[in-house]
Amino acid sequence: MRSILRASALCWAVLLLGCKEPPRGPRYRGDGNAHARAGGTLVVHHEADVRGLDPATSYDEVSQIAIKLLFDGLLDYDYELNLIPRIASALPTISEDGKTFTFHLKRGVRFSNGRELVAEDVRWSMEHMLAPSTSSPGVGFFSLLVGLSEFAEGHSPHVSGIRVLDRYTIEFELTAADQTFLNAMAMPFTYPVPRENYAAHPTDVARNPVGAGAYTLEEWEPGVRLIFKRNPRYFEASTPRADRVLYEVNLQRESAFLRFRNGDLDHAHRFTPADRLFLRRSTQWAPYRVEGSGGDIWGLAMNCEMAPFNNVHVRRAVAFAMDRERWSRARNYALRPIGQALPPEIPGYSTTLSSVQSFNRARAREELALAGYPNGIEAPVTMWISEGATGTLYAELAQADLRAIGIKLEIKQVSFSIYLQQTARAHTAQMSLAGWNQDFPSAATFLDILFHSRNARPADAENRAFYRNASVDALLDRARTERDSVLRRNLYEQANEIVTRDAPWAFLFTSIRIEAYQPYVRNYRIHGLWSEFYRDVWLDLPRQRVAMRAAQNPWRNLAALMPFGGL
């Protein structure tokens, strides 16, 4: 038996230690073309699946990556997050009272089915999205449109606030001035779609998309892959880009990264902690590694209506108790510590707020004493988290940080839907691990939704801290109508400061995106809003990518084994 165990150990040793060194850097290089050229297939992936390709309804991150290839909108953002016209010929003109927005469309823009895109298509697409039967998650962003409620209740066939002025001009009228309407008009919900496609596919349009984007859908094998083909009718068709995009879905992180290193995938993102560390340390991948902000905030939401968090000093104590740097280390530096309600790239982020919510255990104990708990809090506090290993890790970190100041934290881990329902119900969850992604690059998408008192409803509350502050409400309402961007930023900064000091959340971090691409992938940049934005990528190596298939001959490394030659 001992000899058998010895042999077994030997096998393990051979497998684990004896293997030849894998390539540390990219396997394939670019051709060195300075000028963009068309051609080739860009092969990309995601760990989750595309749920649908209807811009009115498919609002998950993975589907949006595909939607950005298939559709284009009136407005979009450049890489610096400035609003830019796309199908619109220019940014809209806005009336003096800030309630009416007039868009002029580019002429000659065509859907991929060949028909010209006109203002009537924009109106139909908007009304299709706003119709209750569509169940679009985007309706809330357009709630100020004149005539929306009459339309939703079936009293009117059209939204009276959407008016087609001529073949290429359309006007939107709001009940109150709202600067975020421009942001809303750059969301995929508004992307024009041809109504005839919805007539042809009444039940499965999400699988048969037709848009005015750079690509068309060539093939979709659910759960496996989607293939997009360059749209020759795209209004920027002359811009060189990859002929095809092969989008593989449901790939596990470990194997996806191996495939990337093997040259089978052209772009890698969302890594295991070990792979992330490898990529950060790799000098050979360094020129092809990009980093960007995740555009999100994460923290501990404390229910301001429930003890002990109805006392601002307890909330501040929790905010001071969090060792954010340690959290970041625990996630291999995938997190950037922040101590305020906005991520750095959002106008309204304050550079002077760093000490208000920072790690300071002495201050935390002082705040607890001010709250009447000089020796810590006797009764345990319950924190709700959703399923998943990352949530568990964060909960354990929070537990340790709070234990150090005398607060005992109990963890309640439930399914995602139960988490969402219960934390959105008043007087239910004392504390929850919370995160929020931007819908668009505006402070409104964080502060309005998470901290305005109108969203602290008894049920289905988005303000899960049930935080109410009339001054914050007033600042946020003013900011929404303010047309001057500098003044608007100041208003959001003031609101951000009050929220941060009142600490309805212990603001912890924003995530850091790390991505890598093959040397022959050109013009790829991390977009501040869109995840994995591939529309403008061109390939420097279409010829060698074809050769790569031959290089994957399964027997090419036979010699490496003889006798344990490559080991």
Binding site: A206, A256, L258, D264, I418
Partner: protein
């Protein structure tokens, strides 16, 4: 024999019924699928609309009876995903892929397992025997998620002998891509068969009729292959049926690691996206696989052992 098959098949019905009922109730205990599907931004009206469209706003009992009624008629419902494909349609796409993987795994484990077992027995107490049994212990002790990642990293990525996961584009490519995940699935089976076969062979090689065969002057090859292996094989054959449940459960891990788009990966996808009708469908198929595997094992035993046939 037919009585045995009939009795075992009838037992499958209450087993499947209990499994489906339990999973149905468990999924409902996980919270509202509308909230999981639409996320934190959904309004109350949108949630209600979704529930109405997918029928989850009706009482639990009504939904249960409808589901079970549909099941009797072969209707497993419609996926919660936006594509609204029927569950039968989804499963029809995925099942053949897992079947291919499973069939390849069974062939690999039977062929390699038996071969290694025979070699170890014939060369007992030599370096070969020790080596084979060492590999067998490794195979039995290492879980699929370890061997899977190890093989992917070493055999596919470092040596380049196999594709680094994926499904391929045509029939031959599918086979090429299936080799490594099938081998990973087969590892435990190979080890089990090798150990059992070795033990059986050692027993058989000591029996009188083998001694007689040798005394008659038969070659060692003929003695081993024609006489010993044939008899030692009988108890091992029943293990094939029992390996089906291991293949089904192993496929979940193996398919996820190798990005093989079969039932195992569908199980993971549908659970994470709270696509309850698809989860139910996958569970039904998996439990059916386990029940059929056990049935084959029972039939195998009954066919080979007359006492089981007569006692029932």
């Amino acid at each position: 024999m037919l009585t045995v098959i009939g009795r075992r098949s009838l037992w499958a019905i209450p087993v499947l019924f209990v499994i489906q009922t339990s999973v149905f109730l468990l999924l409902n205990a996980l919270g509202d699928p509308a909230v999981a599907q639409l996320g934190p931004r959904a309004s109350a009206a949108q949630l209600q609309n979704w529930r109405h469209q997918h029928g989850t706003d009706r009482p639990l009992g009504t939904r249960y009876l409808e589901y079970m009624g549909g099941l009797v008629h072969g209707d497993m419902g419609v996926s919660h995903q936006e594509s609204r494909r029927s569950v039968t349609d989804v499963l029809e796409t995925r099942l053949p892929r897992t079947a291919l993987l499973g069939a390849m795994a069974i062939v690999i484990e039977v062929v390699l397992g038996l071969l290694l077992g025979v070699i170890a027995a014939v060369r007992r107490n030599t370096l070969v025997d020790t080596g084979v049994m060492g590999v067998a212990i490794l195979g039995i002790s290492a879980p699929t998620f370890v061997t899977g990642l190890l093989f992917l990293n070493i055999l596919a990525f470092r040596f380049g002998w196999f594709p680094v996961g994926g499904y391929g584009v045509d029939a031959m490519d599918h086979l090429r891509h299936a080799l490594l995940p099938a081998f990973t699935l087969a590892i435990t089976g190979i080890a089990t068969y090798a150990r059992v076969m070795r033990a059986e062979m050692l027993e058989t090689l000591r029996s009188d009729y083998i001694r007689t065969a040798r005394a008659k002057g038969l070659s060692e090859f003929r003695t081993v292959v024609v006489h010993a292996v044939r008899n030692a094989l009988l108890p091992v054959v029943t293990l094939v049926g029992l390996s089906l449940p291991i293949i089904v459960s192993g496929a979940i891990i193996s398919e996820a690691i190798y990005a093989w788009p079969g039932l195992g990966r569908l199980a993971v996808e549908s659970i994470t996206s709270r696509d309850d009708p698809v989860v139910m469908g996958v569970v039904l198929l998996s439990s059916l696989g386990v029940v059929i595997g056990n049935l084959f094992a029972d039939i195998g035993v009954a066919a080979l052992d007359p006492r089981v046939r007569t006692d029932g």
